[in-house]
């Protein structure tokens, strides 16, 4: 526990602790407002739509906000020094070595995926996917007021992406990953010599198809198996939902391009979660963690 407290109170980690509280608070706060709006005829915001003058009504709020931010920053900057470690040494990596906290979610993904996926493809998809949101969400309701009832799918998906895949992974990466990027529970001592079995197997090996031939070349059957696994995942889930959904009014309004973009992004997110589970779950059950689900001569997933 002492070690955990030490990490939590490290100057550079204070923002994460703050973030944690802020995110919990705002999630609760927004939900409360949504509940209230959902239970009445007109949303609260609609009752406050009379026009008022910016001076002084808005300007004074901004002024107050500025004062508060300055006060917080001033106290923070006087009491806590920004860290400055040993001078740069290109031959000695500190253990553990972590990215700035806001990238620790991505760094955590590096454990589950090859760098080109975790470091390049996933961030690009996240950015493009975020930009696509306004164009694929054509639900006209819930524009300009808090609601949950009217856009359940959109809000739950965003909660999942932001709270679990972003914030929770950041917390995991910051507080529970110790030397060797090993997993430590809060009360455990960060032992740099902790021995953890990290020997990996591929999914194909799990069911008895070796990834490599005896002469160390790639087993084509393993590649084919991986291909059918990945395409099966997207194909079956995609087709299943499409069949369920294609007759609805919403599908007709969305059209195929919007629908399939949404579908791909959604199942892609699910695939990330699946891969995380495949890595984390087997050791708990006493098996080796899965490294790749699909091995090809050019890339591995």
């Amino acid at each position: 526990m002492k070690y955990f407290l030490e990490i939590v109170t490290k100057p550079d980690n204070i923002p994460i602790v703050a973030l944690l509280f802020l995110v919990v608070f705002y999630t609760w706060f927004a939900f409360k407002k949504a509940r209230k709006n959902d239970s009445q005829e007109l949303p609260e915001e609609a009752k406050l739509d009379d026009k008022i003058q910016v001076w002084p009504n808005l300007v004074r709020v901004e002024f107050l906000g500025t004062l508060i931010v300055f006060a917080i920053l001033a106290v923070w900057s006087i009491t806590i020094d920004a860290p400055l470690e040993e001078p740069a040494n290109p031959t000695l990596t500190p253990n553990p070595s972590k990215a700035p906290w806001y990238f620790l979610g991505l760094q955590e993904l590096l454990v589950y995926f090859d760098p080109w996926i975790a470091g390049v493809i996933l961030p690009s998809i996240i950015i493009v996917g975020l930009m696509a949101i306004p164009y694929i969400d054509i639900n006209p309701k819930g524009n300009g007021y808090y609601t949950f009832k009217e856009r359940k799918f959109a809000i739950l998906t965003y909660y999942f992406g932001f709270l679990i895949l972003w914030v929770a992974l950041i917390i995991l990466g910051t507080f529970l990953r110790g030397p060797g990027w090993n997993f430590f529970l809060p009360w455990e001592y960060w032992d740099p010599h902790k021995v953890v079995v990290l020997n990996n197997v591929d999914l194909s090996e799990m069911i008895g198809i070796p990834t490599k031939n005896p002469d160390n070349s790639l087993n084509i059957w393993a590649t084919l198996f991986g291909f059918s696994f990945v395409s099966g995942f997207f194909g079956i889930l995609g087709a299943w939902h499409y069949n369920k959904f294609k007759k609805t009014e919403t599908y007709k309004l969305m059209g195929p391009i919007r629908y399939w973009t949404t579908s791909l992004l959604f199942w892609g997110m699910a695939f990330v979660v699946l891969k995380i589970i495949l890595r984390l779950l087997p050791p708990v059950l006493g098996a080796y963690p899965i490294k790749y689900v699909w091995v090809t001569p050019w890339f591995n997933i």
Partner: protein, 259 residues
């Protein structure tokens, strides 16, 4: 008797600066906004709920404020900071130990940067939850995503500048992802086939060399202090302008009874 303040308000100097009277009338309140180059970012009148902190959480505004604070403190730091491998770390030590108010300004820059990342994420969270990206504001959301990325890039480039152990290893790991970029990185899928090598791929451009070294520091410094803030300011201008063109802060459309 008229007070000195009153007298000042009647003076030519005052009138040459503020072109309207000060008494609390609707007209003066309006002029206060339109006649001021900074305040006229705002409309004169807005719906009441748009001034409600419970609705906007004030996060976008705080993010902008933090950007201004970062610019100011950043420029002050630049007076004492030299972006070379030889001096960068020493200058940080000097700032922290011997420059009057050096630690305060550096701390402020560092903590405001962290805070900005938090507020920008919360701002986005709020915009999503109030559905404010829906028509006609789709494109402003896209600009917002670009601003989010720019904020991350600013923070990431700034992280290297102290040139300590934390910096170079965070940046080593971060930029090594670039070597795995498909097609453009020498370790990425199809990179080898396209002739990518350690000294001609995308990571090489980012680092200005084959390893995180002095040229990297200079590149990140220029990116951090000039290029990225400039680009970010441009996008912020567009962001704010779009808010007004898209009809102000979003709110329920009370003309259509669709609730």
């Amino acid at each position: 008797m008229i007070s000195p303040m009153q007298k000042f308000r009647e003076s030519e100097v005052y009138k040459s600066i503020f072109r309207h009277k000060y008494d609390d009338t609707q007209r003066n309140r309006a002029l206060q906004i339109v006649d001021n180059v900074f305040l006229h970012l705002h409309p004169v009148r807005i719906p009441r709920h748009a001034t409600n902190v419970g609705f906007t959480w004030g996060m976008g505004g705080i993010t902008f404020l933090l950007f201004l604070i970062l610019t100011l403190t950043g420029v002050i730091l630049m007076f004492y900071y030299r972006p070379t491998a030889q001096y960068a770390y020493e200058d940080m030590k000097y700032l922290m130990n011997d420059v009057a108010f050096g630690p305060f300004v550096r701390n402020m820059h560092r903590w405001a940067a962290h805070l900005m990342v938090i507020t920008v994420m919360l701002h986005m969270f709020r915009v999503f939850l109030t559905g404010s990206y829906k028509p006609p504001r789709q494109f402003n959301w896209v600009i917002g995503v670009i601003l989010l990325v720019l904020t991350f890039l600013l923070s990431f480039t700034g992280y290297l500048l102290p040139w300590d152990q934390l910096s170079i290893w965070a940046v080593t790991v971060g930029t090594n992802m670039a070597r795995a970029t498909p097609l453009l990185g020498h370790d990425g899928p199809f990179g080898l086939e396209l002739g990518m090598k350690i000294d001609n791929d995308i990571r090489f451009v980012l680092l200005g060399g084959t390893q995180v070294g002095p040229p990297t520091l200079l590149r990140f410094y220029v990116g951090h202090c000039i290029f990225l803030p400039l680009i970010a300011s441009i996008f912020m201008v567009v962001h704010f302008w779009r808010i007004r063109k898209d009809g102000g802060i979003s709110g329920p459309d009370t003309t259509k009874k669709t609730f």
